[in-house]
Symmetry: C2
Subunit: 150 residues, 2 copies
DNA sequence: TATTGTTATACTCTATAACTATA
DNA sequence: TATAGTTATAGAGTATAACAATA
């Protein structure tokens, strides 16, 4: 090990580095499907957990609502989701996966899962599960939709 | 736990979320010192590990060299580092911490360490160290300067 | 009056290309 | 000829403000 400042072997720094590194791997793994990481997340939230409004997508993805508009435009243009007026509140759109969108999502999840396996290759099976559990424990208090609805 | 797609409890997704979340905490913790996360990393690399050129900073931070110029400009303007011509190759700059820069760095590391402790509060001491080791194991093959010099 | 979604626009951040000085 | 650093500029990504429809 080189003569490094302790900062660079801290959990926080390595977490940041791991995040950005994995992010590039994800986007690379999704290029074949003409999909971005963000688009995949929208599909994922639309896939389960009840009706998804654009505002919900905005808070869950941590993105400005105006960005979600463009994001949903793209996904609707490629036929993966469709906007439907919410009958209970006609201001809202319900974002729903089309059959094509569901197939696309399944393929994308497979691609991302493979990328994750590559990324975590230095760890064995129990270590990978250990890491996952530690991250769940850390992030659950910070992701509202993990504990209940949002 | 809500009816969530498995994607959102995967190690990869949680890693991305943890990374971005911690990133905002870091920047918030550094505002009092008028410092950004990137500036802190430059100070950290200049603090140890031999002479640091701007090109080295560029590869280590994963930033375009033109961005490093502005980054170093800022740090030099506030008196935290200074550029010195490398006597062995006068094209290069050696980035060196000033005494003021070292003090600033020490303060910043304390602030970041506190933020990290807050962020990892859901974990106990052994769990935090376990997470750190798993991240070291995962990232060492991907960070050239971890194993030797770069 | 407040909220959802939308558009238009201004701002920030980043990358590209061209230049200098050194090698 | 190639490389380290710099500058100027164009492009992508983002946030801000104003608007229409609905509550």
């Amino acid at each position: 090990m080189a003569d490094l400042d302790p900062l660079f072997i801290s959990a926080g720094y390595l977490l940041l580095k791991a995040g950005t590194h994995f992010h590039t791997l994800i986007d690379a793994a999704l290029t074949d499907l003409d999909l971005t990481g963000r688009q995949l997340l929208v599909l994922g939230f639309a896939n389960r957990g009840g009706p998804l409004s654009q505002q919900m997508a905005s808070t869950r993805l941590g993105l400005d609502p105006t960005i979600v508009v463009a994001l949903v435009d793209e996904l609707e243009a490629c036929g993966a989701i469709k906007r439907e007026r919410d009958p209970d509140d006609r201001r809202r759109h319900q974002l729903k996966l089309t059959p094509k969108g569901r197939k696309l999502y399944d393929s994308a999840v497979r691609a991302v899962t493979a990328a994750e396996r590559d990324f975590l290759a230095p760890l064995d099976r129990t270590e990978r599960e250990s890491l996952r559990k530690l991250l769940v424990e850390t992030m659950t208090p910070r992701l509202p939709w993990m504990s209940d609805d949002a």
